[in-house]
Symmetry: C2
Subunit: 398 residues, 2 copies
C-alpha cells in the first residue's frame, strides 16, 4: 500500500498542516464545487483564482490571485502541494510540464493535449479506433473548398485550440465563412462532417494513476447555442448502447492515461437500417457540466471522485441514488441576483436542489444549476425547468 501522495509534504504536526493538499489552477464554479467535496474529506484546496471574491475565492481559504499562465504564482502553489490539477484546459503545456518537478500534475500535459487540441484528439481517436466523424485538416481556402465538396457542401469548422461552450465552432457552407480564422490560424483548422445526430450524450468516467476506472451512468445532454443546457441521467437508450458508451469512455481514459474526471461528449447517430451508434464530439479532462447531476443523484459526485483520483485514492461508487436525475443550467438571469427569489423557487419546487456559483449576473453566464431527482423523467424535467426558469427571472412570482 502506497501512502506517498498523502504524506510526502506534511509540513507540520497540526491537523490542518497534515491535510492532503491539492493545488487547483482556475477559480470558477468547478473549484467551488470541488471545495464542497474537499471539506467533507478533510482535504485542503490551494487555489489560484482570478479574483479573491470570485466563485472559488469566496469559499476557499487558501486562494491566491493570479492568471493561469502566471508561472511564479502557479509554481509557488505547486511547491507546497501534494498534487496539482486544473479546472480548465487553458493552461500552457510548458507550465504544466515544468510543475512536475514539484509534484504530480493531473491530468498530465501529455494527456491534456488531447483536450486542448481538437486536431490532435481526432488523430488520436483514429489511432485507437474510436469513432470519429469524417474530418479534414485544412490549411487554405482551397483545402476548405475541397473538403466541403467531399462533405456534400456543409461542414463544421473548428479552431483546434481555445474553443469552449460553442466558441471556435462554426457551421459553414463556403470557405469564405472561415476566411479570417484561417488567416489567424498557425496550424490550420479542423473541418468535420456535420453529424445528423438523434441525441447528444456524455459519458463520464474517472481514472486514477494506478489504473482504476469508474464510470457513471450515461447521460443525455441537451445543448442550446453550443452550451450544455440540460442533462438527463440515465440517458434513454438501450443497454447495448449503454455498454458501448461505457467501453468508449473507459478505453479513452485508459489509452490517454487520463487522471481525474474525463467527459466524452458524443453524438448518437442512426444509420439507414435504424441501427444506432456513437460518434465522438469532444473530450474534457476535468469535472464537467454534464456531470453536475452527480452531486445530488449519484453515490459519489464527480467532484469527490476527481479529488480521489488525483490523490490516487480508490474511487467511489458511481451508481445513482434515484431512478432519474435531471439537471438544468441557470444561464443568465433577468434578476439582479437570483437568490432574491429563493423563497419562490423553494416553495414551488421543493424537490429542486439549487446550486448557485456566487457569480454576478451577465447575459448567458452560467450562474448555477438545478437538479431534480425523481422516479419520473417528466416530473423531474418539469420541476427542474420551472426552478431554473424562476431563477432566470422568466417566471413572474405568483
Amino acid at each position: 500500500m502506497n501512502h506517498s501522495t498523502l504524506s510526502h509534504k506534511v509540513v507540520g504536526t497540526g491537523a490542518h498542516e497534515s491535510a492532503p493538499r491539492i493545488g487547483v489552477i482556475g477559480g470558477g464554479q468547478l473549484a467551488r464545487m470541488m471545495q464542497e467535496a474537499a471539506i467533507a474529506l478533510g482535504i485542503r484546496l490551494d487555489c489560484l483564482v482570478e479574483a479573491s471574491d470570485g466563485s472559488a475565492g469566496q469559499v476557499i481559504v487558501d486562494s491566491s490571485v493570479g492568471a493561469a499562465d502566471d508561472v511564479e504564482a502557479v509554481t509557488e502553489i505547486a511547491h507546497r502541494c501534494d498534487v496539482m490539477t486544473v479546472e480548465h484546459e487553458h493552461v500552457p503545456d510548458e507550465l504544466l510540464t515544468a510543475l512536475e518537478i514539484y509534484c504530480p500534475v493531473y491530468p498530465s500535459a501529455q494527456s491534456l493535449q488531447y483536450a486542448q487540441d481538437k486536431l490532435l484528439m481526432r488523430k488520436k481517436m483514429d489511432e485507437i479506433s474510436m469513432p470519429n466523424p469524417r474530418f479534414f485538416h485544412v490549411k487554405s481556402l482551397e483545402d476548405v473548398e475541397d473538403a466541403l465538396q467531399e462533405l456534400g457542401g456543409t461542414g463544421v469548422a473548428k479552431t483546434p485550440r481555445d474553443g469552449y461552450d460553442g466558441k471556435g465552432v462554426r457551421i459553414i457552407e463556403s470557405a469564405n465563412d472561415v476566411h479570417e480564422w484561417l488567416e489567424k490560424a498557425e496550424n490550420g483548422l479542423l473541418l468535420e462532417e456535420k453529424v445528423p445526430f438523434v441525441m447528444e450524450v456524455s459519458q463520464l468516467v474517472a481514472r486514477r494513476p494506478s489504473g482504476e476506472i469508474r464510470s457513471w451512468p450515461l447521460v443525455q445532454s441537451i445543448q442550446q447555442d453550443g452550451v450544455c443546457f440540460q442533462t438527463i441521467a440515465p440517458a434513454p437508450v438501450d443497454n447495448v448502447l449503454i455498454d458501448q458508451a461505457r467501453f468508449i469512455g473507459e478505453k479513452i481514459a485508459h489509452e490517454l492515461e487520463v487522471v481525474g474526471v474525463l467527459a466524452v461528449e458524443m453524438f448518437c447517430v442512426e444509420d439507414d437500417e435504424g441501427d444506432t451508434s456513437f460518434i465522438i464530439n469532444e473530450l474534457a479532462m476535468r469535472p464537467h457540466n454534464t456531470g453536475h447531476w452527480t452531486i445530488d443523484g449519484a453515490r459519489t459526485s464527480q467532484f469527490e471522485q476527481h479529488l480521489r483520483a488525483v490523490l490516487d485514492l480508490p474511487l467511489g461508487q458511481t451508481d445513482m441514488n434515484c431512478d432519474v436525475s435531471v439537471m438544468v443550467n441557470v444561464l443568465g438571469s433577468e434578476l439582479e441576483d437570483p437568490r432574491q427569489v429563493y423563497s419562490h423557487v423553494m416553495k414551488l419546487c421543493p424537490e429542486a436542489k439549487i446550486h448557485m456559483y456566487g457569480k454576478a449576473v451577465k447575459p448567458g453566464r452560467k450562474l448555477g444549476h438545478v437538479t431534480v431527482c425523481s422516479d419520473s423523467v417528466e416530473h423531474a424535467h418539469t420541476l427542474a425547468q420551472q426552478a431554473a426558469s424562476i431563477l432566470r427571472g422568466e417566471t413572474k412570482e405568483g
Copy 2:
C-alpha cells in the same frame, strides 16, 4: 411573499456582497458542515471561531477569532449579517438577546433556554404534556435522599446547565455521589428516574419562523459512554411509534417556537403489557450528531435545512434516498492522522461516505463520521463499523 431576510443588508452590488449572510457562533464541525451546504446555495457564512485553523476556520473565508461570550466580536458579526445562529448552546442568554437589535437570532434566547437548562426543559415538557421521566428538583442532600427513595434507590443526577456528551450526568445511589455538585450548584440539581429503555431514538425536525415544520425519519441512536456512537435510519420500530415520535418532535418545535434544526432524543420504553412508548431524554436546537446521516442519506441534509430555516426559506424534502443509512462516529484514533489510511478504508469499504472534520487527534474526540447507505441494515452496519474502525487505527492494514 417576503424577501426581507434575504435583502435587508445588501451592502454592495457584487455577487458576493449581495449573498445572504449568516453569522455562526462556534467554529467546530457543525459550522464546517454548514459551509458545505452554504457553498451550494451561494450563502455566505460569517463565523466566530476559536482558532483560525480549526475545523470551521479552515474552510470558512469569513472567520474571525473569538470566544462565544466575546460581546464585541459577536456584535461585530451581527452588525453585518442578515441572521445569526449558533453551533452549540453555550452562548450567554443576555448576549443572544442583545444581538436581536442587529438581526434576528435563531434559535432565539427564549427558545434556546430549554436546550440550555434541563430543569426548565422538564417543566416545559410537563406543561405541554410531553412525556417526561419522573423527575425532582433537588437542592439539598435531604432532597436527594428523599427523591432516591421515591425512585427505588437509583436515579440519574444532572446539572441543569452546561452538560453535553455525557458530562454533567451521573447515575447515583446515594446523595454523597453528588455532594460536590450540590455545593457548586446555584439552583440545585435535576434528579431523574433511570429509564429502563429498550432503544434510544432521535427525532430530527426543522422549523422556520413562519411556522413550516419538516421532520426526517426517526433514527435509532446507539450511545457509548454518553456519546452518540452510531445511528440507524430509519429506526426499526413500527409505524404507530414513527407517527408518535414525529408528533412529539413537531409539537415541541411548535410550542417552543424553535427556528432551525431541533433534535429530540428519546428513550423507547416497554410497559408490562409489552406496549412501547417514548420518554424524552434531551433537546438540542442545532444540527445534531444523530442527523449527520442526512448529508448522504436524505434529499435535504440537516445542514442545508438549518440554513433554509434560519433564513425563513421554504424547507427541503426530508425523505431518504436509500433504504437504510448507518452512521458511525470516528471517536479518537490510534493514528497520527486518520487521513493516512484513506487508501485502505476506501478500498475495503467503497460504499463508505467519509467525513473528517480537520481536527487533531485526541483520545475520544469526535474526529469525523462515516455513513453507509444500503438496502440492508446488516451490510450498512458492518461496512460503516469497519470503515470507522480503520480510521480509528484499530484494524491493521491488510
